[in-house]
Structures are given as structure tokens and as C-alpha cells.
């Protein structure tokens, strides 16, 4: 039994005694991961986002010093074990120019598109994860996987543009079924052959994807874009089936766990503490087995309404209503919600770092952008929005620094991320967010 497997058993679905008795898919790679990597098989670099609402508490998270070896701060305590594997970004600003500051939306959309959005709940361009997917997702089974930790089916900030967002998985069971349910190719099977059912399904799909009618040329611009998106989606499904017809080659040392129970999903902090690590670990195994190379996890929504049982004020309400305690200089109860959000992020980082891959961990072969909608939620401020970049993107990122953006555009972060992920782009964003200045200090 590998440490990885013990880690899974211990951590993943605690309290279910039946797990041990269930037939596991055998621990299929054990020590092969190293071997495969040693024989030169390329480990893909993954990209993900972690979104939480309502920002952090400046007095509690922001270190005074920048660069390497910045001092520890209380709000980031949960991330301390991974400090050397992440970069803390502060002081970057979403420029709105002549557009309104759409509360709890402008910051979110500007960070992921480089464009201050014109309207609420709509993206003026493809979000950064989808742009990166265009380059790196080919060959993986799913273009991207989205997850909502609160279980809200509308909570996803990944989009091909417009108000359509990629719908999230809303429970551990849902995520498990998507990743390891029907269509999952078990690489441990010695006599692996492509599934005849998937072959037939793939063979008839061209009837749909090739069905371009003359009538559709008569459609208006808005509906034409919607038809284009539909056909893009059909094409992506063809790629999914293509991937399912390939013999899987996986280098990570992981075990596919048994199916989790259906768990209650809601916005209470204790429940989030229960489900977020489970979702994070499933997601990590999905990445390690190359089901996807792109993920987006939403811990809470913009204007986060996560709550502590017994306290009638949810997070967002608290940011506006709780008085600042002048003796400490911040809102004591509100600040706890920010801390809880960082604890949620830490469980994701832990899950990624807990999977060995090649001569490092899954986290080392990933880049995760954690971001939020505001800096000071009380004022809906979009200057100084805190962000964290975790993972070294297979060596393309230097980590361990605190970078102060000193008022430069948030699009610099997106540009840096794209370059680290190997995209050929030297300029990103529009209007005042347009930039050709990546954060060179952290690009390797």
C-alpha cells in the first residue's frame, strides 16, 4: 500500500466503514509513475482557478514586506505549509474606465477576461481558463471541469463568453460520476480495448456536427453566436469520446476511490469544511488521471453568503453591517469568513500537493489562480484585489514571493498566467487593463 492510498483512505470518505470492504479498482500505478516519467512520458501542466467572494481583510492578510521570505500573516495561516509553493499577489487593480463598477462582478470578470464587464453576470470575452483550454486540453477527456462547493448549479465563473457559464458539478457524488462513472477508462485493465458503445456513439455524432443548414445562414448575429457555441460544444464532446477511445496512459500514483455518498450541500461554513476537501481530492485525482487539465472551483459566489450556524448574518451582509472595531482596525466577525475561505483554498492546495507525480507533486505540475471579487467588500473596492498563484507550472513559475502590484492592472496576472501555461501571447486586456507587462519576477 502506498502512502497515497493511505492518504486517500484516511482522508477522503471518513466514517464510511464499508469502504474497506468494497472492491477497489486496483492501485494501478503504484510505483510506475516514476518509471513512466523517467522513460520520458510528458506530464501535462494543468491550470485551475479557485474563486471565493468578498475578498480578504487587509489588516490580517497583507504582509508588509515583498519578495521572498515575506512575513506570515494570520489570515493566510492555513496556507503556511505551502508558502514556498505559492505567490501572494496584492495591490493589483481592475480598471473600470468609463464603465460602472458593477458590485461584486467587475473584479471577478476583469481578472478572468482582462476586460471590465459592461453588464452584470456577463463576460465580455472567453474566461482565461477557457483560453488556456484551447491550447492545453487537447487529448484530455474533458475540456474543463467546474465545481461549486456550495452546491449551487448556477455557481460557475468559467465561460466561453456572454452570460452562459459552464455548469458546475454540485456534489461529490456528481463530480465522482462525471470523472469516474460511465465513460471512464480504467487504465488498470490489462486487456484494455475501446468500448464498442462509445465507438458507436462517436460514429453517429457526425450526423449532428455536420448538419449545417442553409437556413442557419439567415439568422441574426446574436443567435448565430449561440449556434456557433452549440457546435463548438458538439466538437468538444467528440473530443471527449475520442479521448475515451484511447488507451489511458497515466503517470500519477493514485487510486480511484469508491463512489462517495450523496452529501448535503449548502452555504454553512461547517458543511463547506466537510465537502470542500472531498471535492478537492476527487478533482486532484481527476487531474492526475488526465480526465481534464483545466478546472474551476467556486468556494462561494461573488457577494458570498456563506454563514456560521447560529449567527444570522451571512458573509456579505456582515461586510456591510458589522462596525469596524477601532481597537483592532477591522471587522472581527467578517474577517473570519475570509479566513474560512482561505482554509478552503488550502484544502485544494493540499489535495494537489498530496499526489506524487514524476519527481514532484501534482501541484508542481499545476498553476492555480485563487481570486476574488473585491478587495474591501464593504466598499466594493476593485483596487488591491488579493490573488494567490499556487504551483510552479512544471517549472515555468518561480514561487515563494509576495508581489505588490502597486496599482497596476489585474490583467498583468492573467498575462503572466497565460505565458506560464505556454500560450503565445504578449499583450492582454482592453482599455486601461491592456498590458504587455507580465510579472517577470515570478516567471522562470
Amino acid at each position: 500500500m502506498t502512502p497515497t492510498r493511505r492518504f486517500l483512505l484516511r482522508g477522503l470518505f471518513q466514517g464510511s466503514a464499508a469502504i474497506m470492504a468494497l472492491p477497489f479498482l486496483d492501485c494501478f500505478l503504484d510505483s510506475k509513475g516514476q518509471a513512466l516519467a523517467a522513460t520520458g512520458q510528458k506530464i501535462p501542466t494543468r491550470f485551475g482557478t479557485f474563486f471565493w467572494g468578498c475578498g480578504l481583510t487587509k489588516a490580517l492578510y497583507l504582509p508588509k514586506s515583498t519578495g521572498l521570505n515575506y512575513e506570515d500573516t494570520p489570515q493566510l495561516a492555513s496556507l503556511k505549509p505551502y508558502k514556498s509553493k505559492l505567490n501572494l499577489l496584492s495591490g493589483f487593480r481592475a480598471y473600470v474606465d468609463d464603465k460602472p463598477n458593477i458590485q461584486h462582478w467587475t473584479g471577478n470578470a476583469a481578472i478572468t477576461t482582462g476586460i471590465a464587464p459592461a453588464t452584470d453576470f456577463s463576460f465580455d470575452a472567453k474566461t482565461i481558463d477557457q483560453t488556456i483550454a484551447d491550447t492545453i486540453s487537447h487529448g484530455a477527456r474533458f475540456r474543463s471541469i467546474e465545481v461549486s462547493c456550495c452546491g449551487n448549479k448556477r455557481e460557475s465563473y468559467s465561460s466561453l463568453g456572454g452570460s452562459n457559464t459552464n455548469p458546475p458539478e454540485v456534489s461529490p457524488l456528481g463530480l465522482y460520476t462525471r470523472l469516474f462513472g460511465p465513460g471512464f477508462q480504467d487504465p488498470s485493465k490489462g486487456d484494455w480495448t475501446p468500448s464498442p458503445e462509445i465507438m458507436l456513439q462517436r460514429s453517429v455524432l457526425s450526423v449532428v456536427s455536420d448538419d449545417r443548414k442553409a437556413l442557419w445562414k439567415t439568422v441574426g448575429a446574436g443567435d448565430r453566436a449561440r449556434l456557433d457555441q452549440y457546435f463548438t460544444s458538439v466538437r468538444e464532446f467528440e473530443k471527449t469520446l475520442d479521448a475515451e477511445l484511447q488507451r489511458p496512459e497515466i503517470v500519477a500514483q493514485v487510486t480511484i476511490p469508491p463512489s462517495p455518498d450523496e452529501l448535503p450541500m449548502n452555504k454553512s461554513v461547517p458543511n463547506l469544511r466537510k465537502v470542500t476537501p472531498v471535492l478537492a481530492k476527487l478533482l486532484a485525482i481527476g487531474l492526475a488521471t488526465d480526465q481534464t487539465r483545466i478546472f474551476n472551483m467556486a468556494f462561494s459566489e461573488p457577494a458570498s453568503t456563506i454563514y456560521m450556524p447560529g449567527d444570522s448574518r451571512p458573509f456579505h451582509q456582515s461586510t456591510h453591517e458589522e462596525p469596524i472595531d477601532e481597537t483592532v482596525g477591522y471587522q472581527p466577525i467578517t474577517s473570519k469568513f475570509s479566513t474560512y475561505s482561505m482554509e478552503g483554498f488550502a484544502t485544494l492546495v493540499e489535495a494537489l500537493d498530496g499526489i506524487k507525480e514524476g519527481d514532484g507533486t501534482l501541484l508542481d505540475h499545476s498553476l492555480v489562480l485563487a481570486y476574488t471579487d473585491t478587495s474591501n467588500a464593504k466598499l466594493h473596492a476593485v483596487d488591491g484585489i488579493p490573488m494567490i498563484l499556487a504551483g510552479s507550472a512544471s517549472g515555468r513559475m518561480k514561487t515563494g514571493s509576495h508581489i505588490a502590484g502597486t496599482g497596476s492592472t489585474v490583467a498583468r496576472v492573467g498575462l503572466t498566467v497565460q505565458q506560464a501555461m505556454g500560450l503565445s501571447v504578449d499583450r492582454w486586456g482592453t482599455d486601461s487593463n491592456n498590458t504587455n507587462k507580465p510579472i517577470t519576477e515570478i516567471l522562470a
Binding site: N152, L160, L200, G220, T240, H320, E321
Partner: protein, 544 residues
Amino acid sequence: MRRSRHTLAFLTGLCLLAGTQAALAAAPGPYLAGLRRLTESQYRNSISDIFGPDILVQGKFEPDQRVGGLLAASSSTLSITPAGFEGYAKIADGIARQVVDEKHRAKLLACTPKSAAASDRGCASQIFEKIGLQLFRRPLTSEELKARLDAADAVTKQSGNFYTGIRYSLTTLLSAPDFLFRTEIAVPAGKAYTLDGYSRAARLSYMLWDTTPDEGLLTAARTGALDSDAGVKTEVARLMASPRLEVGMRSFFSDFLQLDTLGTITKDPTIYPKYSDEIAASAREETLRTSMDLVLKNNGDFRELFTTRKTFINRPLAWIYDVPYNLDGAWMPYEFHDGDGRSGIVTQASMLSMFSHPGRSSPTKRGVALMDIFLCEPTPTPPANVDFSIVNDTNNPKLRTVRDRLMAHATTPTCASCHTHSDPIGLSLEQFDSVGERRLKDDGRDIDVSAVIADKHFEGAGGLGQYLHDNPRVPACFVRKLYAYGVGASSEDIQTATVRSYLNGFTTGGYQVPALLKSIVTSPQFFAAPPPAPANPSVKTATR
């Protein structure tokens, strides 16, 4: 305010049209005027009607969004994402598998092949012609049919099974844009444009029954009967006389009253231990039963939805309302007493719990929601740098109740314009907590439920109910939303003249919803289409 992309596209189309009038005048053929993604309930109802209620529809649907107060409007703005298509493909696979299984094939397929182990193009043709007509809501074109027959042939050859061929080929109908979207085709009608017969059939059917057109409607489309006002009236009379009208109206009221919200809210169990998923589902059903009983079964005055004390309760709701439940059955009619403080649907557990926080009521949330739903008056977002701390400074000895604190905040000049607008409505409902239970005290003091809107003073939920009952904007808003629901547009984009054209009859007729519905769906306006977009030879969908 949010403007739908549909409208923008339409306006762009208009501008471009001006420059190409001559070119278009030469060839005004049928064109695609609208594309409306089926809602989950429309999808489920359609499959149930086409293949029978025992065919299970299992899988994940793409969520919709509320635009101008209605989810129905987003059917005209949303498309299908990669994860969404994957979901639809899986659902389609599950349906097709069941349709051809041994239990169902004899009943659901129009033909039995000469041999179950070989291709039978003639037989497959009969099968796909029938199912294709039902799924696409129009006959398949010869190209569409041929593609399905070829696919079925190929799979049958590979698998040695006729039904396997049908199964896989059937998934291509269920995954096609022509099924997943209602493609609305328009044709010239004099100087204007109108929907063709099949598109009319679908619009009527989804509006009135929330499902795919039945055989009668498809026949009326084929014969051209639906192209005339008289033909439309005949079909509308038939559809409205059916008990299935209630399915359609439940769907509309659920959307209009935003009852889907009950599926997404949570309550803090340490504060509200009574609340559960069962309460949420019951609360939704209560409001729909009350609405259907009043507007359909009794053909009553729509405005009484705000004043009636009659409702329907089950055992879990009796617990919330703290009333006896002495029936063995699942639901019983119930009438609240005068002193219970209840007044119509705005005091039902559904509305009270949907627009509250997990751990407490919110006069602002309730006020904002009711203004939006019943008055079509969305509240602008507050300025970015508002200081709300006074609202929650519970240590201030002068501001002890929620009302005191909210009012102190709301009198700040920058806040007043919105709060004087929405808060009175919410404050009048403060005697009901976050799950709809009655409470008379806040922090040990009596709750003041007096309110003033536009110099009209009223008291508590009863006063609010009467205010909404008497407010002429309420029926106007209802007309606006019912029409927007049918045509799949944002309610904010519906012309005032359009609303007025139905409002007068609604008002003079005593606010009867069936009569209003009939006047809308039998008016030529209901089928009017925007002019065609200019032909664009570089359409991306035409190439690969």
C-alpha cells in the same frame, strides 16, 4: 438595466437591414427568426408526451437565468456549453436505449422490421418520419431523414442489430439543435413578418401546455389552418379547454413568482429547526395550488392573490403556520383567520422564505423582490461605498429593532431614494420570520408594521395585500410578464403599447387570467417576427 442580447442582435439587424433593403426585397424567403433553448420542464414534458411517462429522463440540464424577471426569457439568450452538451448527450442516450428496449419497441416504434438482425430502410424510414416530426415539431427534411437512415444502417451493419441502429440514430435527433432549441421560422406577411405554422404550433403549445405540439396542432400547421386567425382561435379554444392548461399555467406562475428560488435557498437549522427540503417543496406547491385554484378553477379576480386568506396546506406547512391538521390526506384547503395576519400569496411560506437570509428575515430583500415581481420595478444596485454599519450596530440603545436601524440607514440621502421605494413593502411583512412563521416581537418589543409608499399609508401584511390589489401597476406588470413569457423576450423589452393592447380587456373583464391569456395568444402580434438579418455568406456555422 440589463438588455437582452436578443434585442441587441435585433437592433443590429435593423441597422444593417436599412442598408440592404433592396437586396432583401428580392428574396424574402423563410428565415430563422428565433432560437429558444428548451427549459428542463419543456424537455421533460415533451419526452413524456412523445414516448410516454415511463421513459425516464435522467441527467443534468444546463441551468437557466432570470432575465427581466423570467427564466423563460433566457431561453432566447443562452446557448449550450460543452459540459451542457455532454449532459444532453447522456440524457439522449438513456432515452434512446429505453425507447428501443424489448419492453417499449412495439409500442413506440412505428414499424417492425422484417428481421431484427438486419437493416430495413423502409421500416426505419417510417420510424424516423414519425419520431422526427414529434421531436423537431415539423417534418424532417429529406436530407435530415437520409442522414438518420444512413447512420442507422451503418450501426446495424456493425452491430448486427436493427434496434441498435435505431437507438444510436435516435440519439442524433435528440441531440440536434432542432430539438434542443425551438427554431422559430418566420415568413413574410404583407409588409411585415410572422411565424410559420409549425413555429406557431410550438409557441402555442409551450405557452399553454408547456410541452411539444400534439398531433392536432401539428396537423393544423401542416394544413395551413394555423396561418389564419380563425384557425388559431379554433386550436386555442381546444388547448384552453383541456386540463393540461393547468400544466402550462403552473409553469408560468412558477417562473413569474420565482418559485425555483426555493430549490437554491438554505436556512440555518440552529435558528430555524423546522425548515427542511420538504417544507420548501410544500411551500412551492401551496403557492401554485392557491394560484391555480383562484385564477383557473374559479376564474377569479387575479388581484385577489394578494388578499385571499384561502390556501392549501399539508402537514409540514401546518407546523410552520401553527394550525391544526386533522386530515389523513396529503393536502387540504384552509382559510386563515382574520387575526392571523396573512394576506394572499405574499404571506405564504414560499415568498417569505425565498427572500430572506438563512438566519433572519430581510425587509430589503423582500421589498426588492416584490417590487420586481409584481410591479416590474427592479431596484438599482446601491452605490459602491455605502456604510451599512448602523444597520447592524445592535449596541446602539436608540436603535433597537431591525426597523429602527434600517430606517436610520435609509434616511441617509444617498440611500433614501431606493429604500423609500422598497423597504416599506418589506417592513410591512416583518411579523413573519425567515421561514414564514408568525412573530410579534423583535428584541422584546412589538414589531411596527406600518408603511408608507407614495403618501399611501398602510399597516402590516393586510395593508400590503390591499395596496398591491389596488395598484394599477400590478396587473400591467402581470400582462407584461405573461406576454414576455410566451414570446421569450425580456419583460423590460416589451413595448408599453403592446402591454396596453391587452391591459384594457384584462381590466374591464374583471382581471380574469384565462381571458387575458386567450387575448394574447390569439392576437397576430403574438406571432409577429423581427425582420430578417441580412444574408451573411461568411457564417461560421456553414464551414468547419
